[in-house]
Symmetry: C2
Subunit: 333 residues, 2 copies
């Protein structure tokens, strides 16, 4: 028996990264392009960002959004964190036979309203129907094109840089988790799913040179993004527990289920690495936007534990934040 | 009970067209862009084509290709028929838990080799894993970007224009059909799956103004493409049965299964509507390419049956080619 695909290959963690490196990048990897959330490409003299994501979340409807909301915002945000202005999306549907039209229409309504909110157009599509039991109601792929006019937001990260998060963490992941576990006391929980392009633009317009890196911490959460940044480098990411913005409801569900909010998925947040000198000013700009009202500096880059991300707890301890191996929450997006 | 998704909603026929019009275009339709195989967009001064397709074919391996071959060529061809030079593809995988790595690697190898053959780069991707029974081994979405430098290949189709097909029809559809029906005598059958961008470029470079329309006749075949062209217009599409290039093996399997090769899927053919005066010269150019060696003028545009496509049979009869309502062959791509 040969090696087989396991749930962990889709986790956003170690198993998935290994598969992507050994199986996918080994074939398609192209040094001329950036293998990031989006590829940065030159097309006919224009500099564009191009990205793709398939959404397979279950359940397809949840507090704060649905699979359509996610499909638009996930791709819009992947473009925005590359410093691109999101312009155009595709929408490819895989529909399971028997899906209610009513549900399909509700999902498409969400896509349209989120696209309008983000200021992008859905310009091309595809529809496939598969037999009952060959999909899970609906899968949506959105690919996106954004225009890069200024500087792409990628500069060398150095010790001393500030780690910023644009708001409370874990809201999306814990909302889905509470829903799947039928936790009745979790009524206040809601996904943070939102388009971030306007908020990000406000920051990059005012601080074109001080933002060094941005990423939306979806699958695997903030800890996974930070691990990716420091991996194999002579720098570490230090987080200060007391500074982490976490809603009480999220903290409660995390506690009950034994989950660290740093690993929980977000769908309306961005992690920003920026020059320390501008960090407080960036927070002010973020706080002026509805999506960034709970923004905070949550740590800094240093050389303490090269290649690692770690947290200083409120009681003074230090804890390494390992790369996820197993899937914490399957099909979160 | 509300209305539900049926297999026919993915057929490429009437049911699918109705759903796309009433459910999808009604929401996303944007008069500023062309809703065609690809959208034609202006990005930072560049004119580009953007397209998306999800491939859910079963079985995933077949004579002449596999789901990876299809995923690359299908998207390359959708760009090429818009007059674009295909440049970049994305690759988004939905993997069913339990899929053999060996099969995944074989499919990815096919993608890489077809991408090289077509001269495109796979630059960005996504991987999702779903539980056993929530997908069918592997689904692949490829979205693509092409550059339009010359004229986009869309001009008004008029009576007198020639209908050209670049080679034998029905090869892909009947190969899959024979495989699914375990027809043992069908050994000579093989999918025609191939990238057509170089062949199309040879034609459009030499006849920049005489090509009026191009389309790869995939789901629903040549008859469905022609129906789409004439729908609601004061023109009809007349085909001459004796001129249709159909392989003997394809004709045989079609006869046994009661299928018209005009409705069978192709994955390496293009239908071209061109000025009659240049038709024979275009055929000469096509025949010089490996993909176009069996090219033929198969009919013409006239006003005989407005809004319809029809065929003149070898015995002198005329038969209307209706728009497909039901699914002839599910999951052909």
């Amino acid at each position: 028996m040969g090696k087989k695909i396991l749930p962990g290959h889709g986790s956003g963690g170690k198993l998935m990264n290994e598969m992507i490196d050994s199986v996918i990048r080994a074939r398609f990897g192209n040094e001329s392009v950036q293998l990031d959330d989006s590829a940065i490409l030159s097309v006919g003299g224009a500099k564009i960002a191009f990205t793709t994501d398939t959404f397979t979340i279950t359940p397809i409807f949840f507090p704060g959004g649905d699979i359509g909301t996610l499909a638009v915002n996930g791709t819009v945000n992947d473009l925005a964190v590359m410093g691109a202005t999101p312009l155009f999306l595709s929408c490819a549907l895989v529909l399971e036979e028997g899906l209610e039209f009513e549900d399909l229409e509700r999902v498409l309504d969400s896509m349209k309203s989120e696209a309008d909110r983000a200021g992008v157009a859905i310009v091309t599509g595809d529809t496939k129907v598969v037999p009952n039991g060959k999909a899970d109601r609906i899968f949506i792929n959105t690919s996106g094109i954004g225009l890069i006019e200024g500087l792409a937001q990628r500069r060398e990260i150095e010790p001393g840089d500030a780690i910023i998060v644009s708001g409370t963490i874990g809201d999306h992941g814990m909302s889905i988790m509470a829903l799947r576990n039928s936790l009745s006391f979790s009524r206040g929980l809601s996904s943070d799913c939102a388009p971030l392009n306007r908020m990000i633009r406000a920051v990059t317009d005012q601080f074109p040179k001080s933002v060094k890196f941005m990423r939306d911490p979806t699958r695997g959460g903030v800890a996974s993004v930070l691990n990716e940044i420091v991996k194999g480098r002579q720098i570490s990411a230090r987080l200060i527990e007391a500074n982490l913005p976490v809603r009480e409801e999220v903290r409660g569900v995390c506690g009950i289920l034994g989950i660290d909010p740093l690993y929980a998925a977000n769908e309306g947040k961005v992690v920003i690495i920026a020059r320390k000198t501008d960090a407080e000013e960036i927070i002010k700009v973020l706080k002026k936007t509805p999506e960034g009202r709970d923004a905070a500096v949550i740590g800094e880059i240093n050389r303490e534990f090269p290649g690692k991300a770690y947290i200083e707890t409120t009681v003074g301890g230090r804890r390494i934040l390992p790369l996820l191996t197993e899937e914490q929450l399957p099909r979160i997006c």
